[in-house]
């Protein structure tokens, strides 16, 4: 089995009194699209900054592509920041030539690499345009294309699709994942739907620690299997408590005429709901458990665990 692309062991990082990473241990396998998921301030960006040698851990061991993170290692790492980094006055191809030169890509190679990447990311006809004239989604695609110029072994994506619509996001991911050889990807994101769709492994971060890790399928396996969204006029607290007490029911949450229930088997539950509140239920929608459900259940479970 090849060495992992990233190996973190008990990594701790503090900013003053604030503990950003708390003895975090993690392995990112080579070739994986590894999602780091967590709320704002959970330590995702801090971990990426350590991997990219922008900061150093206070304690613990961190190995990236078989080495300790240091500036020369960045030659093998591509980075996409949450914000764009292109000078809006530069032309698209000029920006890529400039970036490629900074990563020591030979000019002759850039002559073929740039058109190939622009075409792959749907920007083939925008090469001569100033970056400032591209739409938000196109600029994100340009950033990802730029990060691949020097054919990195590891790609760090820090919330790369923030503010990008679903269609643009899908175009971006398709273009990124179709290339070969594909780098190992470390993705920090808040977007659970995106992570569910593209990640081969996922870790949930909370307060600088990993609270769950595995493939999306593994993380969803331990959950109530279905999420039932019920249009329910004026549910009474006693009725909701009764539903929560039924066998096979997980969470029950009511909000403004809608009740969301997680359960092992919706088919046995629904007739009982109609019996419990005849005439008050006007719609029922069943969806399979998602990574989002897994995330909330794992993160909430940890939040509710009393401190020892």
């Amino acid at each position: 089995m090849p060495d992992p692309a990233i190996r973190a062991s008990n990594v701790t990082r503090r900013y003053g009194n604030r503990l950003a990473l708390d003895r975090l241990s993690l392995e990112v396998p080579q070739g994986a699209v590894f999602g780091l998921l967590g709320p704002n301030g959970s330590g995702k960006s801090t971990f990426i900054a350590l991997v990219a040698a922008a900061e150093a851990p206070d304690s613990g061991e961190l190995e990236v592509l078989g080495e300790r993170p240091a500036r020369p290692l960045l030659q093998r790492i591509g980075t996409v920041f949450q914000e764009n980094t292109a000078d809006p006055l530069m032309r698209v191809s000029e920006y890529l030539r400039f970036s490629g030169a900074l990563f020591k890509v030979p000019r002759s190679h850039l002559q073929t690499r740039i058109p190939e990447l622009l075409s792959r990311f749907g920007l083939g006809d925008r090469a001569a345009d100033p970056v400032g004239q591209l739409s938000g989604g196109m600029r994100r695609r340009l950033e990802v294309a730029r990060s691949l110029l020097h054919e990195p072994a590891l790609l760090l994506l820090d919330e790369p699709t923030t503010g990008v619509d679903a269609e643009e996001r899908s175009v971006l991911w398709r273009a990124l994942l179709e290339g070969a050889p594909r780098p190992t990807v470390l993705l920090a994101t808040n977007d659970l739907v995106e992570a569910d769709a593209v990640c081969t492994r996922v870790a949930f971060l909370q307060a600088g620690r990993i609270v769950a890790e595995g493939t999306p399928a593994q993380l969803k396996a331990g959950l109530r299997r279905e999420s039932i969204r019920i249009g329910w006029t004026a549910p009474e607290p006693a009725q909701l408590a009764q539903v929560a007490s039924w066998h096979g029911v997980g969470d029950v949450a009511a909000d403004d005429g809608t009740v969301v229930v997680t359960a092992d088997d919706a088919s046995t539950l629904i007739p009982r709901l109609f019996e419990l509140a005849p005439g008050a239920i006007h719609s029922v929608a069943i969806t399979p458990a998602s990574l989002e459900d897994a995330y909330f259940q794992h993160v909430r479970r940890r939040s509710e665990t009393p401190a020892k």
């Binding site: 960006s45 801090t46 990426i48 900054a49 990219a52 922008a54 900061e55 500036r71 020369p72 290692l73 960045l74 030659q75 980075t79 920041f81 949450q82 914000e83 764009n84 980094t85 292109a86 000078d87 809006p88 006055l89 530069m90 000029e94 400039f98 970036s99 030169a101 900074l102 990563f103 020591k104 820090d158």
Partner: protein
């Protein structure tokens, strides 16, 4: 290709592309020379100027003023790169941040030197220069003085830009510091007749040595009343090296989140 050269080339291209900045930074000193020089020469009798010609006298000061403006404007590139996010990209490359800063400074140095020399060369045919060391040698000395002056000023701009958070704050400080320095450098009037305390300020002023060197190269008929090229170059060289070292010593602190 080294990172510094890549950066310098990119910054030079950006200035060439920003034509309004390019033209106005050269036109302003030339207009200054034409209107102020002619106006003062006609309205007053500059009898204590060696050549009796205020326009010719002003050229050295105007060249130094061009360098001051150019180095101040060059910092805009630093702030633009920070605000557009490009600085963060630069800091995520395998290059040492100091090399990247050096590249930006080299571009500013090249632009400032070129603009100052253009002002000198455009003015030269229309004023009575003495060229006491000969035209070519005089131009060489002027070029050396301009390079050292720009090196010192871009180093200062670099040092301040990496320490001051906003571009407005930077320009405020540069104007506050550099305008008084310009006034008491001999750029616009001789410092010999000033009160003693102002003369002392003038001799403590680095720009005085830049003006002195340029005047000796172009305008002066002899060395009388001047400090001398040796002193000028020693002072400018030492300050340029010192300020540049300070400017490059501090790598901009850009966090991963871009703050």
């Amino acid at each position: 290709m080294s990172a510094a050269i890549i950066l310098a080339r990119r910054d030079l291209l950006a200035v060439v592309r920003s034509r309004s900045q390019l033209y106005s930074s050269m036109l302003t000193p030339l207009l200054f020379l034409v209107f102020l020089g002619n106006g003062v020469s006609k309205g007053l009798e500059p009898s204590n100027l060696p050549a009796g010609n205020f326009t010719a006298y002003l050229v050295a000061g105007t060249v130094v003023m061009t360098s001051v403006f150019s180095s101040t404007f060059s910092s805009a590139s630093y702030y633009r790169d920070r605000d557009s996010g490009l600085l963060r990209l630069l800091l995520s490359t395998p290059h040492a941040p100091r090399n990247l800063l050096l590249g930006k400074s080299l571009a500013a140095l090249a632009i400032g030197t070129l603009q100052a020399l253009i002002v000198l060369l455009v003015a030269a045919p229309f004023v009575d220069f003495e060229w006491q060391y000969g035209t070519l040698a005089g131009l060489g000395i002027a070029l050396a003085a301009v390079v050292l002056t720009n090196l010192m000023l871009t180093g200062l701009a670099q040092a301040l830009a990496s320490r001051i958070q906003t571009m407005q704050g930077f320009h405020l400080l540069m104007n506050l510091a550099l305008f008084p320095l310009l006034f008491f450098s001999g750029a616009f009037f001789p410092v010999d007749d000033l009160p003693a305390w102002l003369q002392a300020l003038a001799y403590a002023n680095p720009l005085t040595y830049a003006v002195d060197g340029l005047e000796l190269a172009t305008y002066a008929a002899n060395g009388d009343g001047f400090m001398g090229l040796g002193i000028d170059f020693v002072v400018l060289g030492a300050l340029a090296a010192g300020v540049y070292a300070v400017g490059l010593a501090r790598v901009p602190k850009v966090t991963w989140s871009g703050e």
